[in-house]
């Protein structure tokens, strides 16, 4: 690959110098990175560079990392293919989408994409709802989270019953419309209505008398149910209703502890993660025959040490593994599990933030990639071990060192030359490195690394 930048070029000491460096290089992706920072003549030169060839324009219009300011500039270009790509690009902002709309010339495909784009504004969606009669376009508007209540009511008024699926789950749907939907809807629509945050109380009462289990399951999940209704639902014989009820935060300690004796594994699994269980019932769950129940309870934040100790000797590997992942597990249990026969359990210890340095040192002598990756990413791992692991042949282990928040500059410096581009990319924003370290990647052979370097410096100058 030809060199884009002169050899040994030092870190530019100003925003202007940074932009000049990019302009002189002619590097497309670096130019995209600093575009927002530039003003006046420099901006014009960057625009010329970015738009010099149509294939570059098309590439940037689609690229997931292209900054919003560049996408906005591209939206001004009179090129339908560019507009289509911008419309599909998740990074396009509301302003860019408005520009596309102004220049769309009523292109149906463009309009359809606009109504599906996450950044389309409520104003734009309203305008489209008023002016379009194409059903798929209107359906997308009804489903769009940015569509406001007035627009939803307007859609219902002009196309009654056409968009019930979308309206029943839309967070902005007004209460009066929810009532209409409940009266005319099938069981799925009614289920969505009883789950809705704006569902009126009297509809919850009506749903309580339903026999359809889909509706009752959604009702059982609603935290607004009173204790009386919860108690009645707890007597229901459908497992899915009971399981959902078991996860309802409003269930209350008394009902939860009553349900613990339920014969359904899935009900007890859900209950096992509740924080309002009695010590007696926690013990019952620890002794449960179903290993998934024991797995869930092993992660319980209030499980006494005695019970954690019992589960640390469980015959099932995944249960012991779950003990290692409980943030409350005492160090002595972690020490015991660091010598477990299952490598997945030992890996759990290696990733645990409370594991002490001496245990991590012992685990660092292992050869398994999961154990070593855990050691490499653990903030308690001594620096000397991180230095050793940074030279590992295994990509995952080196990446563990890179994402370790305690990895020091000297540990990370050799990784600036890591053969895997993603690692170099991750290092660009690492706070342990200084600006000169980052700048050493400015002429990286990988375009995304170069882009990230220049973007990092551009953001720095923009924040000044």
């Amino acid at each position: 690959m030809p060199m884009l930048f002169p050899p040994d070029i030092s870190l530019p000491n100003s925003a202007d110098a940074l932009i000049d460096c990019v302009i002189n290089s002619g590097d497309l992706h670096s130019a995209a990175a600093v575009y927002e920072l530039a003003q006046g003549e420099q901006k014009k030169q960057l625009r010329d560079l970015l738009c010099e060839e149509r294939r570059n324009t098309l590439l940037l219009a689609r690229w997931e990392h292209t900054p919003a300011a560049v996408l906005q500039m591209l939206a001004e270009i009179d090129d339908e293919t560019v507009r289509l790509r911008l419309d599909k690009n998740p990074a396009s902002r509301a302003g860019t989408l408005n520009t596309i709309y102004k220049n769309s010339g009523h292109d149906r495909q463009l309009l359809c994409l606009l109504t599906q784009h996450a950044h389309s504004s409520s104003t734009l969606l309203k305008r489209l709802a008023m002016s379009e009669d194409d059903i798929p376009i209107l359906k997308s508007i009804a489903a769009h989270p940015n569509t406001d209540a007035n627009t939803l009511m307007c859609l219902e008024k002009h196309y009654p019953g056409m968009f019930d699926n979308e309206l029943a789950v839309h967070a902005e749907t007004p209460t009066e419309l929810l009532e209409t939907l409940y009266q005319r809807g099938n069981c799925f629509i009614r289920s969505a209505v009883v789950s809705h945050i704006r569902c009126p109380e009297h509809l919850l009462d009506s749903a309580f008398n339903e026999t359809d289990t889909t509706i009752l399951r959604h009702l059982a999940a609603n935290p607004r149910l009173d204790s009386e209704k919860l108690a009645v639902l707890a007597q229901h014989d459908d497992v899915s209703v009971l399981r959902t009820l078991a996860g309802n935060p409003s269930l209350g300690a008394e009902l939860a502890n009553q349900m613990i004796q339920n014969s359904s594994n899935s009900v007890r699994r859900t209950l096992a993660s509740r924080t309002d269980l009695t010590a007696e019932n926690l013990q019952r769950l620890v002794d449960d025959d179903d290993h998934w129940v024991r797995q869930w309870v092993a992660r319980h934040p209030k499980l006494p040490d005695l019970l954690l100790n019992q589960l640390a000797s469980d015959q099932n590997d995944e249960v012991r593994r779950a003990v290692t992942r409980n943030p409350q597990t005492p160090v002595d249990i972690l020490r015991q599990l660091a010598e477990d026969s299952s490598v997945w359990v030992r890996a759990g210890v290696a990733y645990q933030k409370n594991t002490p340095a001496d245990v991590l040192s012992t685990l660092s002598e292992e050869s398994d990639v999961d154990v070593l990756s855990g050691v490499a990413s653990n903030p308690n791992t001594p620096q000397a071990i991180l230095i050793r692991l940074s030279g590992s042949q295994q990509t995952d282990i080196r990446r563990g060192v890179i994402i370790n928040p305690q990895a020091e500059r000297d540990t990370l410096l050799p990784l600036l030359e890591d053969p895997y581009y993603l690692h170099r990319l991750l290092l660009v924003s690492n706070p342990a490195l200084n600006d000169n370290d980052r700048w050493s990647l400015h002429d990286d052979p990988d375009l995304s690394v170069r882009f990230m370097v220049f973007k990092w410096f551009a953001q720095k100058y923009l924040q000044l």
């Binding site: 599909k88 996450a118 899915s240 999961d370």
Partner: protein, 319 residues
């Protein structure tokens, strides 16, 4: 008439599926009067003959050696001996950790044409053309081997569809127990990784990404995957956090799920790196709350919604 020599692989008493895929690869090249010979090497090589007796195989050579498992020195010597005897035009090996141990040496010593990780084969006139990837899988590279009498290729797994049609090829037995190894086994250490599932060979995968938000939520997707008889996999952030083993990671940093037929992506946005490991899957179902997520660009079915709500509905379905 050309002779194709194929080398089968086995591990821990079982024939590896790639052995049958190599037979399928040979069918891309063979003409009616060509001969396909499969060699299976090991202390109990005869145990694999029945499984290798499939359509497209003319002869199986069961080579008895003194080593139960793969040994690079023994394999290199045996294949050299077979090549001297059969004088094949093409030798096909599985692209695997085993063949990495001896294929290059064999090709260099014999001055054969050589390409690894091949996933396309054809004759252009009399010239054998092999296709493999280049520039980090960004381009397909077609290679020919001018002036080479024999070409040795390693075949990428999960590309060529193995036949299930049985046949009755001739079977011969060679005793090469006298061939020794330069290395000695002092101790057998069980690999014992965190996971014993090879995700490159499974056909139904449920995969989770950043959308699951926290580690505690992994359990419910593990349960769901078990209920659905799917293998639970993940994107890089999940494996990097230690929430699932590295062996379950799909993508550029992880594995390519070559045999997968159905891939359900839950809360995966679809980075280029992740999609590199699964975009070839015929049926991709994506569930994501962000309608702009890149994963939808390759999904056959897309659901814009909360993965926990979908998980709940699926769970109720399976219950």
């Amino acid at each position: 008439m050309k002779t194709f020599l194929l080398i089968a692989e086995h591990r821990r008493g079982e024939l590896r599926p790639i052995s049958l895929e190599v037979i399928a690869a040979a069918q891309e090249l063979r003409q009616a009067d060509d001969k396909v010979v499969v060699a299976v090497i090991g202390e109990q090589a005869e145990n694999y003959v029945a499984d290798l007796s499939v359509a497209g195989v003319d002869e199986i050579i069961s080579v008895k050696t003194g080593s139960v498992e793969f040994d690079p020195d023994i394999f290199e010597s045996v294949v050299t001996s077979l090549m001297e005897k059969l004088d094949p035009e093409v030798v096909l090996l599985p692209h695997s950790v085993d063949s990495l141990g001896y294929a290059a040496t064999l090709a260099r010593k014999g001055n054969y044409g050589f390409a690894t990780d091949v996933y396309g084969l054809q004759y252009d006139g009399d010239e054998l053309v092999a296709t493999r990837s280049g520039y980090d899988q960004k381009v397909n590279v077609e290679l020919d081997f001018p002036g080479k009498q024999c070409v040795l290729l390693t075949i990428r797994p999960s590309v060529f569809k193995a036949t299930e049609e049985s046949a009755s090829p001739t079977v011969s037995v060679e005793d090469m127990t006298s061939i020794g190894s330069r290395s000695t086994n002092l101790e057998f250490v069980e690999a014992g990784g965190a996971d014993d599932i090879d995700i490159t060979t499974v056909d139904f995968i449920m995969s989770i990404g950043r959308g699951i938000a926290e580690e505690a939520n992994v359990e419910q997707f593990r349960e769901l995957a078990e209920m659905a008889d799917a293998t639970l996999c993940c994107s890089r952030p999940i494996a990097d956090s230690g929430w699932l083993p590295k062996s379950r990671q799909v993508g550029q940093s992880g594995k390519v799920v070559g045999s997968c037929k159905l891939y359900v992506a839950m809360g995966i946005s679809g980075s280029i790196q992740h999609m590199a490991g699964m975009k070839h899957v015929p049926t991709i179902v994506a569930v994501n709350s962000d309608p702009g997520a890149s994963i939808f660009t390759i999904a056959k079915y897309g659901i814009v919604g909360d993965i926990f709500e979908i998980e709940e509905e699926l769970r109720s379905h399976f219950e």
